[in-house]
Symmetry: C2
Subunit: 298 residues, 2 copies
């Protein structure tokens, strides 16, 4: 089942790759290293979950995927920036990412910091560019920008990141862990769906449903990551497994056990699918990617 889901995702992935190539900032002789570092991390084989969710959400509300492409790219810029900064020695200190050297290991810390900063900034540059999304009303584009900034900022990803740092120093509750994941992962995934919904001209109710789907699926995504970290084969994951436990990092399997974590993942997936029932048949691609998220092998 997972294999056919992966196949189904490929056409979306290709679509996203093409757009990422198209919108990537042109070369400038003076910023060779930073651009190389941005490119290295942006094209390092990510699954493109967030852009794909954005495109699918746009379609689910009856919009055209092509209208959502720049926003899909902006979401991936922000995701990539967060990975680059997360991996830094002062934060998670990860030498590898998706089986390759992390950005700072490859380009040095200074360039990695700047490449992250630049990708974050570029997301907002792209969303506000005159030559893209010409058919989208400026007021809607402002909403996209705000959605993305909130999800990435001190009320979203940054809050999750800080809580994660804090959690390394002390014992954490299940509520605390959920807070971390809702902010660190869930916020941007929910924003991906909301942006797609806005670009497809969804109603307030439809966008509410998409947001709920995103929140549920975002948490399921993280639980699956935790599970893969315990069960996964190092080769498939592209990094050492069991690293979380080694660092005594709180995870769902540690806090509630493997079985209960799996059950929680399935419950979240059910709830996510429930939230998008209003889209009828049009929800199918979203249901499929939700299933992929929970049953993927890496």
């Amino acid at each position: 089942m997972v294999t056919s889901l992966v196949e189904g995702l490929k056409k979306y992935q290709r679509y996203v790759e093409g757009a990422l190539q198209k919108y990537f900032p042109l070369a400038d002789p003076y910023t060779r290293q930073v651009r190389k570092a941005m490119e290295y991390s942006l094209f390092a084989g990510g699954k493109r979950i967030r852009p794909i969710l954005c495109l699918m959400a746009c379609k689910a509300v009856g919009g055209y995927m092509i209208d959502a492409l720049p926003a899909a790219c902006a979401l991936e810029y922000v995701h990539t920036y967060s990975l680059i900064h997360d991996d830094l020695p002062a934060l998670d200190n990860d030498d590898y990412r998706r089986g390759h050297l992390s950005c700072h290991k490859k380009f040095g810390e200074a360039t990695a910091i700047l490449a992250g900063d630049a990708l974050l900034t570029e997301a907002f540059s792209l969303l506000s560019r005159k030559t893209v999304m010409k058919k989208i009303p400026p007021a809607t584009r402002l909403q996209l920008i705000h959605e993305l900034a909130r999800a990435a900022g001190v009320q979203g990803m940054i809050a999750g990141q800080e809580a994660d740092l804090e959690a390394e120093k002390k014992k954490i509750s299940l509520d605390g862990l959920q807070y971390i994941h809702n902010h660190k992962t869930g916020a941007l995934i929910a924003a991906s769906l909301v942006c797609g919904g806005l670009l497809g001209k969804g109603t307030t109710r439809e966008i509410g449903s998409l947001r709920k789907f995103g929140e549920k699926i975002g948490l399921a995504f993280q639980i699956k990551d935790d599970l893969l970290n315990v069960e996964g084969k190092a080769k498939v994951m592209g990094k050492g497994t069991g690293t979380d436990e080694k660092m005594a990092k709180a995870t769902y399997p540690i806090l509630m056990g493997l079985d209960q974590s799996r059950t929680l993942g399935k419950t979240l997936l059910d709830e996510a699918n429930q939230a998008i029932r209003i889209f009828g048949k049009k929800a199918l691609p979203l249901v499929q990617i939700g299933t992929y998220i929970l049953f993927r092998e890496k």
Copy 2:
């Protein structure tokens, strides 16, 4: 003369301080450290040059300063983020900023990286917030966002920052130095003026004049910084003087000598003032702040 200019700036500074306080993100129990770090750096006694230039530009084209306040704050967020990240050990490795411990010295590197990221993101969050700048057309707000993102991104500040890093490793020409300063400092200063002009509903020609003024004054600002680094008294500057020379960093005084640097500063100020002659009497506050920039003592 400088004293009276400083006095004249104070009312603008107070106006900006009030707005910064007003728009600063509310507390959240989970992000105490990052918010503290953001606040620490944001309220560390900056001169608020960029916000003030934004307000003055708005006024010069006949607009109301109050309309430009959120953008003025966003500009200061971006400036503050750039200082926090610049000071990091991997970049300039500065322990002090404006006579106080730099952000990472006070809060640790992880929190400083996140605080910088959060301030940058918050700038775009503020500019796209529904409850601010309600009178400004959404299309104009998109222009502001794009102007800021371009100035801060890989075609602006980041390009300057990378060229600066590169320059530490090799001998640099006067052209190279100018490239660094135009991007690292000039781009955001020019953007400050352009944003003010847009918010005051300036014509294309007026905004072009403001941009030119900003570019000239931005370079003059940096030359003065270099001069202060050589001439300045450590106590007035709030950091050790002569640090640039110690690190063999290229500066205007090193590349062209003290006298020629001073002359270049004055020429740039003249050219800047020339650019805004079209505003007649309304240009006066801008002329004054330009004079302040070149004759300030810290």
